[in-house]
């Protein structure tokens, strides 16, 4: 086995932990823990961005790491915490349909994602081949999470974790996007969260619940 530098090994480790967290989110029943897991995911992302910045000596990546830390580890989780306190759903436990099946589908998705990413990884240089695969896998898994969830908040968390996966792909594979783009995305995410927050209140006003199955009533017939 050819020896890869320790820092890249570290990024690899962080990447697999990212995957682990997505799996944990997929199986997590408690909304509160879900948000905490999201915060951890952000933290991992910040660390990995920092490491990539350090190895490639790209200064703008330091900013991006700081931004991630601020936004995804502190601001967004705090916002979400406040939101669930306000909505009084912090102790809610979701009934998940058949966790083992979801997990098996998850494993299949991971395999699929890696095979999909294999040709892309060969194009990019300087990184180990698995990173894009992991990023793609976590995007797909987040999508899966959105499919299996019934509560609006957990769907939003899934959406945010999807964005994390994309961000990870950007930093690890292409050594980061231009700072302007990143700032723009960060702002988007922040705004989106606010809007979602407002939506939650509206949904609850209308249906007396955050369960999105109630939305089925909205179709006209």
């Amino acid at each position: 086995m050819t020896q890869i530098p320790l820092t890249l090994q570290f990024v690899n480790l962080l990447a697999s932990m990212l995957l682990l967290i997505v799996f944990a989110m997929l199986a997590q029943r408690r909304i509160l823990s879900l948000i905490n897991l999201f915060a951890w995911q952000g933290a991992l992302l910040a660390v990995s961005t920092f490491v990539v910045a350090y190895t490639t000596h790209q200064h703008h990546l330091y900013y991006s790491a700081g931004l991630t830390l601020l936004l995804k580890v502190i601001v967004l989780p705090l916002l979400l915490h406040r939101l669930i306190r306000k909505l009084n759903v912090q102790w809610d436990v979701e009934t998940l349909i058949n966790i083992p099946t979801t997990m098996l589908v998850g494993i299949a998705l991971v395999i699929f994602a890696f095979n999909l990413a294999a040709p892309i990884s060969q194009l990019s240089e300087g990184i180990t081949r698995g990173l894009i695969g992991i990023a793609l896998a976590s995007v797909l898994l987040s999508l899966l999470m959105m499919l299996t969830r019934r509560k609006a908040i957990s769907q939003v968390v899934a959406f945010l974790s999807l964005e994390n996966g994309l961000f990870f792909a950007a930093t690890s594979a292409t050594q980061g996007m231009p700072l302007v783009v990143e700032l723009g995305i960060a702002l988007d995410v922040l705004v989106a969260t606010f809007i979602f927050g407002i939506f939650f209140f509206q949904i609850r006003e209308t249906f007396d619940s955050l369960d999105i199955t109630h939305m089925e009533k909205l179709k006209d017939d």
Binding site: Q9, A15, S16, L20, P100, M103, V110, F114, T128, G130
Partner: protein
């Protein structure tokens, strides 16, 4: 490894054989003592398991009227299997000539053999508790065993060998590499360790409450020397599992082939590692709550999933 078994290696093997069988109750005592401290009790001291064993050996054995030969030989088989298991895991040095006879798959087989016998013995008397315990034990194990196998496979994939000494050699004595797959495996292994050694949250070693016990329900009918052997075997099993954990995830300090001079340091490091592992186990047990029996498959399913993911990650990242 050369075929001629040299004298040093045999000596190492014998040392370890004696060491594990004598030290295993001490480790259990240490875990119990840590728990006592954490619960603000003074505890019975780390030597308590030895006193219990001595007491049990002195007692007259009482067998149920319909106990068969299977019931009587099981403690010896279980003890023999566990001792063997603990003796072939490299904890001090990687030259253990006997471990060639049983690689990691056989190691899992040894655990399974002991488990089958103890479950059968539990059913032998025909009380409802015995069968209940046997059923639950097999329930826990049918998920824990493949998870353990997957953990060991991850390590064997990395080191291209299924022999534990080779695995440790590859992990400890070559250039330091971070293995993401081993991170997954270590988590899975921690769960398996808890489940297989009848610890909280899957089982509670100190309870005799009907609804919750698993391991204790199986050995309810044992007394005196039979019970002593089974208890000793349990402590050996805990020792073996912690040794596997050390060998796979913290192998640094295990000495290379024929390195006599490193032995004192290796022993010291081993003691420190064992004490730390024991403390960690105690803390883990204190902060978690026992789960319902039907949550256990889910918990163990997580371990299985983690282990499989670890193996997949190894294939994907090549590390």
């Amino acid at each position: 490894m050369e075929n001629s078994v040299n004298l040093f290696a045999v000596l190492f093997q014998l040392t370890q054989l004696l060491l594990v069988v004598l030290a295993a109750p001490l480790l259990l005592g240490w875990v119990n003592q840590c728990q006592a401290w954490l619960q603000n009790r003074s505890g019975a001291g780390v030597l308590q398991p030895y006193r219990v064993l001595h007491k049990l050996f002195n007692k007259d054995a009482v067998l149920a009227h319909n106990a068969s030969w299977l019931f009587r030989i099981t403690p010896y088989i279980v003890f023999g299997c566990m001792w063997l298991a603990a003796a072939i895991i490299p904890i001090l040095a990687v030259d253990l000539p006997f471990s060639r006879a049983a690689d990691v798959i056989a190691l899992v087989g040894v655990f399974a053999l002991a488990r089958i016998f103890i479950a059968l013995a539990a059913m032998d008397i025909g009380t409802s508790f015995g069968t209940l315990g046997a059923r639950r034990e097999m329930l826990v194990s049918f998920l824990a065993e493949p998870a353990l196998l997957m953990v060991l496979f991850t390590a064997s994939m990395i080191s291209h060998s299924t022999q534990l000494p080779r695995i440790v050699d590859a992990l400890a004595h070559h250039q330091f590499v971070l293995y993401p797959s081993l991170a997954f495996a270590s988590l899975a292994f921690a769960i398996v360790l808890l489940a297989e050694n009848a610890r909280i949250p899957v089982d509670n070693p100190s309870t005799h409450l009907e609804l919750t016990m698993i391991h204790e329900a199986m050995i309810l009918e044992y007394s005196a020397r039979h019970l002593a052997l089974i208890e000793w075997a349990s402590s050996l099993k805990l020792f073996a599992y912690i040794s596997i954990g050390i060998a796979l995830f913290f192998p640094y300090g295990i000495i290379e082939v024929g390195n006599w001079a490193g032995l004192p340091l290796a022993i010291l490091l081993l003691v420190v590692k064992l004490l730390l592992a024991g403390t960690a186990l105690a803390v883990l047990e204190i902060v978690t709550a026992k789960m319902r029996i039907f949550r256990a498959p889910e918990f163990l399913g997580t371990a299985f999933l983690l282990a499989v993911l670890g193996l997949l990650i190894h294939f994907l990242l090549g590390a």
